[in-house]
């Protein structure tokens, strides 16, 4: 990143928390009045295994600067193994995100049990700071935008040159 860190930048992070462990832990953090960064917006799912990779991509597309997935600790999944599936999907998704120019630190998966309200606080704070350092996510413009038209022009030019 060549630009200086924007001090006023407030990252937006979408979190997918499983109902049984991490969402409950976030409730616990609330009950214990553990203050943490307000940047994380939680979407409740029944299981981290429900996280479809397209949810992560959609979040980035819709303006998230980071995505956090929270599930039960290995072996503790309410549905036996949903968290393992989440982990595997994240592993498969990482290279794809890298290819899209989305830094690795923008996607994080964490195991947070229902008793770990303090971990919700810590992870949300860490993630916010990490994404703040990475700066706003600047994805390639969506199809149909001005830049896209330029791109089409350029590629058409190339095609003409190569195929006389």
């Amino acid at each position: 990143m060549s630009e200086a860190v924007d001090e006023t930048f407030e990252p937006r992070i979408v979190a997918f928390f499983c109902n049984w462990c991490t969402y409950t832990a976030a409730d616990l953090a609330g009950i214990c009045r553990m203050t943490y960064a307000p940047n994380v917006r939680v979407v409740r799912l029944m299981c981290s295994g429900r996280v479809d990779p397209q949810f992560v991509l959609a979040a980035f597309r819709d303006g998230a600067d980071g995505v956090l997935i929270g599930g039960c600790h290995p072996g503790d999944c309410h549905y036996q193994q949903g968290n393992f599936h989440a982990l595997r999907r994240v592993a498969l998704l990482r290279p794809m995100l890298r290819d899209m120019g989305i830094e690795e630190g923008r996607l994080r998966i964490e195991w947070i049990s229902a008793a770990e309200g303090d971990k919700v606080q810590r992870v949300c704070n860490e993630m916010t700071e990490q994404v703040r350092m990475l700066g706003p996510l600047r994805l390639a413009p969506a199809p149909g935008s001005q830049n896209d038209a330029v791109l089409v022009e350029v590629t058409e030019g190339l095609v003409e040159q190569e195929v006389p």
Binding site: D27, G30, C47, G49, F55, D62, H85, A115
Partner: protein, 676 residues
């Protein structure tokens, strides 16, 4: 019960869907819990600008009757056909507001909650930031609820029988209560007798009731109650199914004596070729000896002897005249006995698996295991018990009788190095032990305490009684127990070194015997048990209740309830009270006869399914089958538990989850991001 055909046909939308969504947003102040941090008026203004929102209101307490009435009235007036309540966590009040939505005449599933208390006002320092975050969460809920659909509410029958795991006082009380209500109860205990810790005590605080006198009648009642199937020397090895419909596998370990034949005459124990008892007696905390064939204590229930194959000469060498067998008039011996298994189907489960005591040898400074006259409290309970190794006499390991005894409180409790929590019972049982030691031996007793905690009925009075009796109390945590004498008086004795915080200097108190008041810990296999029953543990390892105040005996797994110290340190009155509460919850559930099944089950849109079978292998519950003829997958919604693992993996989007469809979640994502 509705059995879905599983072909996932797309049904025509219900009437509520035919009309355009009209969302009502109801923002709760929760007194000042939300309104004290979040600008509620701004939330209402913001909500009214969101797409599909027809009505936005705020109220001091949405969960109150007038609050719920606001929602119902708007539904009845035709103003709204979707409801969003922005208040506490859905884990707190989702059922309440679904009920209110239904009472207004809408499907309860046309409702969504935004948690702006637990996830916003309670955890955000800045009011402006909190308001912004609350706006985002409300936008997410509004966007998603527009896509909600009515769902069929399915019920499953509840099997009438009940399983109780653990035969201590909590398990006994729960089992008896439910059996007396006419339920068939399976009581599984891993020891060879029920009774638990309470059966080892001589007296109970603060009334000094004889423990056996109040416990053994209940143990006999368990045995004689025709509704209770008592399985001792047994453990639960498998649990399957869901609330109302569990299949439990129980293993019976061989005791090499047939329970149906043994009368408990104990002639075999006398006849054993080992004339002397040589084996460490676990029941007496190792202070006594038993034979390879034994019964833990005279009133053991069932009164059936057990053969210890590790110590029995027949098992070890195959050469023994087996005088025990000859002595048995009932031919009850069966040396060929093997493990046996039973499978039972129950509607509900009560876990009353109890606690273990802190291992005192972990605190090196207190000398347990190094100095023979340092005892743990469970050991002293046995010394004081008339049926114990010394017939109730305080006889130390070296044979001597103590003239001075020091009791150290909070051993392993209230100490960040071991357990930071208070074990709740140690102050009171230490007082009881102090009283009994004084009464039996006339010894001077010194209690070293941090704080005296006596919050139960009659407890403070008991403390006063001890003070008046002349028991010494020294306020301060003990630094060490040592045998290094610094004066003539200390020679040959144990010295307790502690700061007396009330007079402000360090004292050395020479004593003959030290009692370590060890704290209560989760059972060493609590983690395995937790996994077996699919419930959760807190950080300290005790089982977690569903709500610390309002659902103290329920767990996050429906149909599984907690009783006694497996949920946290508890004395006998509290364990019994909790066991009664667990029994009442079970009875309420079993007598209702049916439970509502998970609404958020998965389904497969047959038209979109490519028949790849990815989902079939992924389902942890075997709920998905493949129809080879039609080449599509189908979900059995009765077996489906609604995790959505299959939905997240479906490459064609054919698998979906009720209340968590791709579209609903994608809309929520868009909602939380694009409006603030």
């Amino acid at each position: 019960m509705h059995l879905p055909d599983g072909d996932g046909e797309v049904k025509s939308p219900p009437e509520s869907m035919a009309t355009a969504p009209k969302v009502g947003v109801y923002v709760c102040h929760c007194g000042l819990n939300i309104a004290g941090k979040v600008d509620v008026e701004r939330l209402v203004e913001f909500a009214s600008t969101l797409p599909d929102v027809a009505v936005a209101r705020d109220y001091r307490f949405m969960c109150s009757d007038p609050g719920q009435e606001l929602i119902q009235q708007d539904i009845r007036d035709g103003l709204v056909n979707r409801v969003v309540v922005a208040s506490c966590s859905p884990l707190m009040h989702e059922a309440t507001f679904r009920g209110a939505t239904a009472a207004g005449g809408l499907s309860p599933f046309l409702f969504q909650m935004a948690s702006i208390r637990e996830h916003v006002s309670w955890v955000t320092a800045d009011g402006e930031e909190a308001t912004e975050k609350a706006e985002a969460l409300i936008a997410g809920a509004v966007r998603r609820v527009a896509l909600h659909e009515d769902l069929e509410r399915r019920q499953a029958p509840v099997l009438p029988d009940v399983l109780v795991v653990g035969g201590g006082i909590a398990g006994i009380h729960a089992a008896l209560t439910m059996a007396e209500a006419g339920k068939r109860v399976y009581l599984v205990e891993r020891e060879s007798t029920i009774g638990g810790h309470m059966a080892k005590f001589d007296k109970t605080f603060p009334t000094l009731d004889c423990s056996a006198c109040i416990l053994t009648p209940k143990m006999s009642a368990v045995r004689s109650n025709p509704n209770i199937t008592l399985w001792t020397y047994s453990d639960v090895v498998g649990v399957e199914g869901f609330t109302g419909n569990f299949t439990v596998r129980v293993r019976h370990r061989p005791r090499y004596v047939r329970e149906d034949l043994c009368t408990g005459c104990l002639a075999c124990i006398d006849a054993c070729i080992n004339k002397k008892a040589k084996v460490r007696d676990e029941w007496n905390e190792g202070l006594g000896k038993r034979k390879p064939i034994y019964i833990p204590f005279p009133q053991a229930t069932p009164p059936v002897v057990v053969v210890d194959p590790d110590e029995c000469i027949w098992f070890k060498t195959g050469k023994c005249p087996r005088t025990c067998v000859d002595a048995c008039e009932r031919d009850a011996f069966d040396f060929e006995q093997r493990e046996e298994f039973d499978e039972v189907k129950v509607g509900a489960i009560v876990l009353a698996t109890g606690f273990k005591t802190f291992d005192a040898s972990r605190i090196f400074e207190y000398g347990y295991g190094r100095y023979p006259n340092v005892y743990t409290s469970p050991e002293v309970e046995r010394l004081l018990n008339a049926a114990g190794p010394t017939q109730g006499e305080i006889e130390m390991r070296d044979g001597g009788r103590p003239k001075t005894v020091g009791i150290i409180h909070c051993v392993g409790s209230r100490d960040v190095k071991y357990n930071s929590y208070c074990s709740r019972v140690c102050c009171m049982y230490s007082l009881k032990l102090a009283h009994l030691i004084r009464e039996r031996s006339g010894a001077e007793v010194y209690n070293f305490y941090i704080d005296m905690r006596a919050p139960g009925k009659g407890y403070e009075e008991f403390y006063w009684k001890l003070l008046q009796e002349g028991t010494h109390f020294i306020r301060g945590r003990v630094a060490e127990v040592t045998d290094e004498a610094m004066s003539k008086e200390e020679e040959g004795r144990l010295v307790i070194r502690a700061e007396d915080t009330l007079i402000g200097f360090v004292r050395r108190v020479p004593v003959d015997m030290v009692v370590l008041a060890v704290g209560l810990e989760p059972q060493s296999d609590a983690e395995q048990v937790r996994r077996l029953f699919n419930i959760s543990c807190g950080g300290e390892g005790f089982f977690t209740e569903r709500h610390p105040k309002l659902a103290p005996v329920s767990t996050f797994t429906d149909g599984i309830f907690l009783a006694g110290a497996c949920q946290g340190p508890k004395d006998i009155p509290d364990s019994v009270a909790q066991a009664g509460a667990a029994a009442a919850e079970v009875l309420a559930m079993v007598d209702r006869g049916a439970v509502e099944l998970e609404a958020s089950t998965a389904f497969v849109d047959a038209a979109a399914c490519s028949g790849c079978r990815t989902c079939v292998a992924l389902c942890p519950f075997g709920a998905i089958t493949y129809d080879a003829e039609r080449k599509v997958a189908a979900v059995n919604e009765v077996v489906c538990k609604g995790c959505g693992i299959c939905v997240g993996a479906c490459p064609s989007g054919a698998a979906q989850q009720h209340l968590f469809t791709d579209q609903q979640i994608l809309s929520e994502i868009e909602g939380v991001l694009q409006y603030v």
